[in-house]
Structures are given as C-alpha cells and as structure tokens.
Amino acid sequence: MASLSVSPAAVPPEALPAPREGVSSWPLIDRVCYWLCWVTGIGLCVIAVAIVAFMFVKGIAYLRPELFVKSPAASLRQTQSGGFLDPIIGTFIVTAIGTAVAAPVGIALGVWLSEYRSPRWLARVVGSSIEILAGVPSIVLALFGLLIVSKGFLSFLSQGSPQGSLGESFLCAGLFMALLAMPLIVAATYEALEQVPNRVREASFALGKTRATTIWRVLLPSIRPSMAGGVVLGMGRIIGDTAIVTVLLGLTIKNEPVGSTPLLGTLRGTGSTLTSYVYYNSPAGEGNSHEKAYAAAFVLLMVVLLLNALVTRITRGREPGRRPRWYGLTGLVGRLGWTR
C-alpha cells in the first residue's frame, strides 16, 4: 500500500497573518453602533473601577487598625465613637446562621427537584415557588419574618415581651437570611445535577445501589464545586443585605445578649452588622459620622470582592471556558418551575 505520509517537498514560506474585518468600510450608522458598543464596554469597566477606587481611597483614609478591635460607643464625636468590632461579629454570626440553615435545605431541595421530582405537580409548584422567592424583595421577607417570630410559639428565638416576643435577634435575622440565600443554592445544585450525564446514575444503579446512596455517595461529591459556588453566592447575598437586618436584628450599637447563657444569650440578643453600621453612620442614618461609614464600607466591599473572586475561582472549572458562564447572575426565571 502506498505510504500515506507526505514527503516534505516544499519549505513553508513567510506567513502573513490574516487581517480581520475592518470597520472603516461599514455604512455610517453601523459604525456609530460599533463605537457605541465599545464605549459601553469600556464605560462599564470604568464604572466598576471607579466604584472600587473611590471606596478604596476613602476607606483607606479613614481606616485604622484599632477600628477592628473596639466596640462602637455612642458619641457625637467621631474620635470617640469606637470601632466596628461588634458589627463585624454581627455580620459573621448572621452569615453563619443563614448559611448553616440555607445550605442543607437548599441542597436537599435542589436534589429533590432534580432527582426525585414526583409527583409532577408538586415539582412544578415547588420550582415556581423558589423562583418567586428569588424575586421577593428582602424587605418583604423581613416583614414576613417579623409576623412569624413575634407570635408565641417561636418566642424562644428572641427576647420575650408581654405580647409574645420582640422578634429581634440574631437567630431571627439569621433564619430569614437563609431564605435569601436558599434560591441561589437550590439553583446551583439543580443545574449542576442536571449536567451530570445519566450514565453515571445508571452505572450506580446497575451495581445495585439505591437512589439515596447514589445521590449521597456519587452525585453530590461530583458537583462539589458548583455547590460550593452556590453557597458562596448565597453568603455574598446575605452579607450584603441591610433590610432584614434592620427589621429583625434590633440595631443596637453593641451586641446585647439576652439572658445569661454564653452563646445562646448572644444569639438571642440584638446587635448590628456591617451593613447596618454603614447605614447608621451615613447621612441617611443618625450617626452622621461618614468617616466610620467609609471605613466600614471599605471593609465590607473587600469581603464581598473576596467572595466574588472565590466564586469565579471555584466555578471556572478545569477547562478554560471560551464563553463566560455568568454563574449565578442569570437568575432563576424559567429554570425550575413551569417551563420544564
């Protein structure tokens, strides 16, 4: 049989890179649109950089190390009004509670929607409910929370009062923060599970494993990056929220525990978070100490940026994607509910 290889007959010459389509020959209106697109793209980056740079400059100017370790104190003078240790602790507690509740429940719901989803009507209804929940404003969730926790049976969550309970504590706030993060976690888990090819499940079933075992031991471990990404997105949303904190946390300057049990007392007590601290110190709140507001806002922004970088890192995956994935930004409309 004749050899299939090519004899190196000729030497390749100097290559000219192929020119890309130039814009100068387009009609005027097309050129205008082209340049508008460029302006918008660059303008977007400029705005983002401007926001970060502005907060950076102002924040660094007013940030002092002792702000991190001193508790806030009520005072009209900025030098004596203390730092934001309590708000930082407050943010941490609220995020921890919110994530701790939202993550298992969200993952479980995502698993149910993807793997079980029977009866059909329930799957569609639950999917639609989660989509609706994703769109509900956080202030409405806060008001709903207040309705529930001030009734008698949940009064252990916060300080008691003659009518039931005040409904303002870390536990209350954390619980309803979970509602904020949950749709993101459900969507992340659901989408990741839908991507897992069926042959993985079939292989596990063929080995005699039940569905629960398959999910727990095979599917969930394989989608860890996506689940982690969803959880971090949820955390980001919790950290950035002010509305639920304002209604359900009591907004005392320092974290005031209720009762004498060490951990439970703090959790049942009131306090503040970085977001409410920034609001309080801004001209819209009462503190009117914008230096503290800038400093705290800077810290808040850095935390959020860090979380964002984490999400991008986690969800980028192994292959350098040619198309950006817009993880978490594309919303839930039509992904879970009636469109399936």
Partner: protein, 336 residues
C-alpha cells in the same frame, strides 16, 4: 427492575431500601414544606394588610393627601378631620416606584444590549474573560455601598452642578430640591440592575447557533448587521425576560433608594418639565424601609404590610411574566 418487598431481601439491602424510601419521603416533605412556607408568606402578608385595603378600598392606590402626614397621623393616633385613622393614599409612592423603575430599566436595556453585543462580538478574546469578574463585581456590591456613594458623592455633585438656584426657587413652595432626587436614584439603580441584564443578554446572544452567524457572514453582511438582523432578533425573548427580572430587582431595592431617592414622599410632576427629573421621590420599598420602626402600632403596621403586599404580588406576577416572555425562544430550539 420490579421492587421486591423489603422482607424478601437480604438484611443490609432491606435496610438500604428502607433508607431510600425514607429519604424520598423526607425530601418530598421538605419540598412541600418549602412551597407551604412561601404560600404561607403570601397569605399572612395579605391578611395582615387587609384592614388597610378594606378601609381605603381601591382608593388606596389613588392620590389625595400627603403621605408623610397620613403616616404621622397613624403614629400619633389623632385622625385627620373627616377621615379615619387608617386613611391612606399611596399614589405618590406608587408613582415614585413606577418612575424610578421605568427610567432605570429603559436605560439599562439600551446599555446592557450594547454591552452584551460588545462582549460577545467585538471585544478582543482575552478581554472577554476579564469582563465576567467585572460584571459580577457590579452585581455583588451591597446596596448600602451604592447608597453611600450616592449620598456622599453623586448627590452633592448633582446638587452643585445640575440643579441651578433658579430651578430650586421655581418649586420652593412645593418641595425642596437637593441632590437626593429621581435622577440620582435612577442612575444608581441602572448600575445595580445592569449586571443581570448583561448576563442574560450575553447568554442569549451566545446561544444563537453559530451556523446562522456564519451563514450571514458568508453572504457578505457585516458583523453589526448580522447581530442586528439575526442574533438580536432571535434573542429578544431572552432580553424581554431579562427586563422582567431587572424590573423585579428594581422594585425590591429598598436601602439604596431610601438613602438617595429623596427626603419626602413627593409625587414628581412631569408637567414641571426638566425640573421633574430633579424632584425627590420615594418608592414603595424605600418607604417600607424607612417606616420599619413603627410596626408596633396597629394602623401603621397594617399600612406598611399593605405596601409589602403590593410589592409581593408584583414580584409574583413579574415572575410569571418572565417565564411567559421566554416562551417564543423555544420555537427555534434555542435554550438560553
């Protein structure tokens, strides 16, 4: 594979099957619980809001008085002459919500379409991978920080440079103009809703089959015209869905608008001409946020829950609208 009754299987297998069934029931119950909770939320908020609606009837949405006065009345417990304690006319709030949302969404629609086209078509390849973090950054910035920048940087600038003294004088008997107004609020709101719109639009544009774009290029149609006639035409349902989603987001924004939109619940008057854009407004969510301390007083709390009910029902309707908007894309089998 028929399911054998548990009793006929080996012990460890039977245990696994029992666990499986329990897991299925548990998860199903959890799912039902999630649905029940959300349904319960809608019901309780509407029930708590009902007294305010039943007293005012449909006029709740109308105009006829100053919102701040009506709320103060409820706080103090002294009714206005001729009206009950629960008297409330929400029109200035609704109008404020509508105006800020419409302006922000329209601006964001134009800007996000151009930006998405830039991202998917004209940007150099390496730049595209760098833009996702930029857009995610804009999406992740908390509302308070947008509000802070607005109230401490943008609002004073607008107050100084865009609102002349004569303009302030012209409406001084009705309302006071300062940097916290419709324009500031809408501009910042636009930036806040841009990321979701860009993400959805870019996703949709990328989902347009390459074969169509290649076919158009092979016919000698330049890149912009290809996008305009083929890609955008295919992707418009996704853009409509993005708009709906962005509207829901804009409706729900409370904190930033509370800081930046204006000091009074004023119904900005379009007949004022250009001054209309510099008048203060107060959207619904911002109002709820401001009044959230007064929830212990009965009539005030009913009114606030009424506002919350309006927001909740709007969010629900927008959710369905968004789903409906995406339907036409299924015709082409394009999944975006």
């Amino acid at each position: 594979m028929a399911a054998a009754p548990a009793s006929q299987l080996r012990p460890e297998l039977a245990a696994a099957v029992r666990t499986d069934k329990r897991a299925e029931l548990l998860l199903g119950a959890l799912a039902f619980g999630a649905f029940a909770l959300i349904a319960f939320m809608v019901v309780t908020v509407v029930v708590k809001a009902w007294p305010s609606f039943s007293y005012n009837g449909l006029n709740w949405f109308g105009s006829g008085g100053d919102v701040s006065t009506e709320l103060r009345v409820m706080r103090e417990g002294t009714p206005l002459p001729g009206h009950g304690l629960a008297y409330f006319r929400a029109w200035p709030l609704i109008w404020g919500t509508v105006v800020t949302t419409v302006v922000a969404v329209v601006l964001a629609l134009v800007i996000s379409t151009l930006a998405a086209v830039f991202l998917t078509e004209f940007a150099p390849t390496r730049a595209r991978r760098a833009v996702e973090p930029v857009v995610r950054l804009l999406a992740g910035v908390p509302s308070v920080i947008y509000g802070l920048i607005g109230i401490l940087a943008l609002a004073p600038w607008i107050n100084e440079h865009l609102i002349s003294n004569s303009r302030k004088q012209s409406v001084i008997y009705v309302v006071q103009l300062n940097g916290a107004n419709l324009t500031t609020a809408s501009l910042i709101l636009t930036v806040m809703i841009l990321p979701i719109m860009i993400a959805l639009t870019a996703n949709a544009l990328q989902s347009v089959p390459d074969s169509w774009r290649e076919g158009s290029a092979a016919l000698g149609v330049n890149r912009w015209r290809t996008i305009w006639r083929v890609s955008l035409r295919t992707a418009w349902p996704a853009i409509a869905a993005a708009t709906v989603l962005a509207t829901a987001r804009a409706l729900g924004e409370a904190v930033m608008l509370a800081m930046v939109a204006g000091g009074t619940a004023f119904a900005a008057n379009p007949l004022d001409g250009l001054t209309f854009f510099f008048e203060p407004v107060r959207p619904l969510a911002a109002m709820i946020f401001q009044e959230s301390e007064g929830l212990t007083i009965a009539t005030l709390s009913h009114t606030i829950y009424a506002m919350a009910a309006v927001l909740l029902l709007s969010a629900t309707m927008l959710s369905f609208a968004g789903w409906a908007a995406k339907q036409p894309m299924k015709r082409y089998g394009v999944r975006a």
